[in-house]
Symmetry: C2
Subunit: 179 residues, 2 copies
């Protein structure tokens, strides 16, 4: 299964930290890459630097025409899952979502164009209470991958954490003799 | 089981939106309340207004001496679970956590005092990749409550969402005849 996230309504200054967290969640929870509607070179380079350090092949592209992107992917067989607190509860549709082969997950900012609700194959809610697009994305991906995503290894990392009961254990890959 | 969240390292201006999201996740995913170390009346009133509208009994208190709070709760039998990417993977300790009756979940900002790692009963990682304290808290609470938290009803709400396939369906409680 391949998952790509599309962030709609990104405002580079105001959403700086929230969009960064959305990108990090997308990567850590198993998406292949993220598309950001408004161009934001600073965010691109921040995420690319992080991938360089922590490994894996996660990619980011900004300055995307969201409408064209959605329509073109639909033609190629991608299914569109729009995260919204107004949608159907994730647990009522997760079995259907798990059958999809290629999923574009739309994560909006505060206001989302009405058209997205219509373009989506599924409008999915992570509960119907207000919380955060960051937590919504994490829970969706966690449900899709059944928690296995948290054990994934990221290849070609320069730095890696060894889980520990107290304190911080960080391995640098040159100290592992892998480079 | 009772869960309270303690946010350490909150910087009112810089962390405004991230801390708001942490509060919303705490509420939506089943915690009773949140303690914020630095005083922040604006955040308090924002969250109180939201509870007033969306219901439930979630509470917020800011201007907390975190060290005293942790030590006093430990004396009263609370268990301390510190969320950190350096910790033990949540899935390796979730059975132990589920046995606890009262849990103080510590959610740090960028830098967390070393002492917290020592005061914690468990240092728990939601995977060992960088993502967000918002997603980490959501996944921890979702694991603890096994997804049931997303179906919880919040009493005394003025507004409620009816899940729908397309668009937005919002009920106002006076239109339900409950007030």
């Amino acid at each position: 299964m391949e998952i790509v996230v599309l962030r709609v309504g990104h405002r580079p200054e105001r959403d700086k930290r929230v969009s960064t967290h959305v990108c990090l969640v997308a990567r850590a929870f198993g998406a292949s890459g993220i598309l950001i509607d408004r161009e934001d070179k600073r965010l691109e380079s921040k995420i690319s630097d992080l991938v360089d350090k922590w490994g894996g092949e996660f990619w980011i592209r900004s300055g995307i025409n969201w409408k064209r992107e959605i329509k073109e992917r639909k033609k190629k067989g991608w299914r569109i899952v729009h995260l919204t607190m107004y949608g159907i509860n994730v647990d009522d549709v997760i079995n259907e979502i798990r059958k999809y082969e290629k999923i574009l997950v739309i994560v909006g900012s505060e206001k989302v164009p009405r058209e997205i609700y219509d373009l989506a194959d599924l409008n999915v809610a992570i509960g119907n209470q207000p919380h955060s697009e960051i937590s919504a994305l994490a829970i969706l991906l966690d449900r899709i991958f059944s928690g296995e995503e948290l054990k994934r290894e990221f290849k070609n990392c320069k730095i890696r954490i060894i889980p520990s009961k107290r304190g911080k254990t960080v391995l640098r890959v040159d100290s592992l003799g892998e480079e």
